[in-house]
Amino acid sequence: MKVLIIVPAYNEALNIEKTINDLNNNAKEYDYVIINDCSKDNTKEVCEKNGFNMISLPINYGLTSGIQIGMKYALENGYDIAIQFDGDGQHQAKYLKQLVKEIEENNYDIAIGSRFVTQKKPKSIRMLGSNMIQLAMKLVTGKKITDPTSGMRAFNKKAMQEFVGNPSLTPEPDTIVYMMKKKMKVKEIQVEMSEREFGESYLNAFKSIEYMLSVMFSILFIRAFTKKGGK
């Protein structure tokens, strides 16, 4: 199966080289594409200098748009699996094979790289948020997702088409709920994630609250009433 790794990058000039080198070293049988979301720093120049495969967006439009265009590209070019992979160096390429394996061999539709399948969740405010989302997902779908906010997700063709075809879907936990309601099979794989080295996360205190509100609202009031479809 053809696999595409989508690396959304916004102001990641300091991390992108390391990320792509990691991909080239540990997942070289897969193709990758960097989605440069109109970065204000020299992400674009760094990628061009290194000859990385990159799509550059003319307007900054956020993560959702970045993943969507990556999937559009994947579908256009006949890829069977698309993996969302952070450009900030938090994700490690060595785990990608396991995600792909779950979809290829075990017929899962979505595979998520989770930090807490076998490991225990540490106690922090961040993880409290994660637990709340987990609880909401359990309520709505009846299934347990240990690391709902993980940004390392692999989608098969069916999930990709669903994602591109529905503009209200974001690369966030509520989409997983939507996909589960559509009878897609989701599998979690234990992975390790590193702390980001440079630059800052797009989630600050205020944004985190906003994020929690929108994700919880979406799971409990919108995705909970998804029309069941699929198989």
Binding site: I55, P58, S65, I69, K72
Partner: protein, 119 residues
């Protein structure tokens, strides 16, 4: 309704009507979008002319004063208009996003083609 309120309502609606027409002429507002505002101003004028009807309705509905009913009608009108505008923005946002994607993918393809030619 007091005569002062009725005069204020008429003046306001005439002013906003004129502004609306002016903006359409300056092409800063589309004719189709101006209709909702024209309806709003006509509503105001109707309420000031037929103040007896307004008083009757507000009494039947149990309002303390007819002016409250006028306010309620205008607030509802603004809320609906605000919601419709919000919806239009969301649709536009989606369109701009698709355009953004289209341009980026097209540029990407062109770049790849040029690279191929170069080789």
């Amino acid at each position: 309704m007091t005569i002062t309120l009725r005069i204020i309502l008429v003046i306001c609606s005439i002013l906003s009507f004129v502004l609306c027409i002016k903006k359409v002429k300056q092409a800063k507002l589309k004719t189709a979008d101006s209709i909702i505002w024209v309806i709003g101003t006509v509503l105001l004028i109707l309420m000031s002319i037929f103040s007896v009807a307004v008083e009757w309705i507000s009494e039947k509905l149990g309002f303390m004063a007819p002016v409250n009913f006028v306010f309620l009608v205008m607030i509802s009108f603004l809320l609906i208009e605000g919601f419709i505008s919000n919806m239009k923005i969301s649709i536009l946002d989606e369109k701009v996003k698709n355009l953004n994607h289209y341009i980026a993918l097209k540029e990407y393809r062109e770049e790849k083609n040029e690279e191929k030619k170069g080789k």
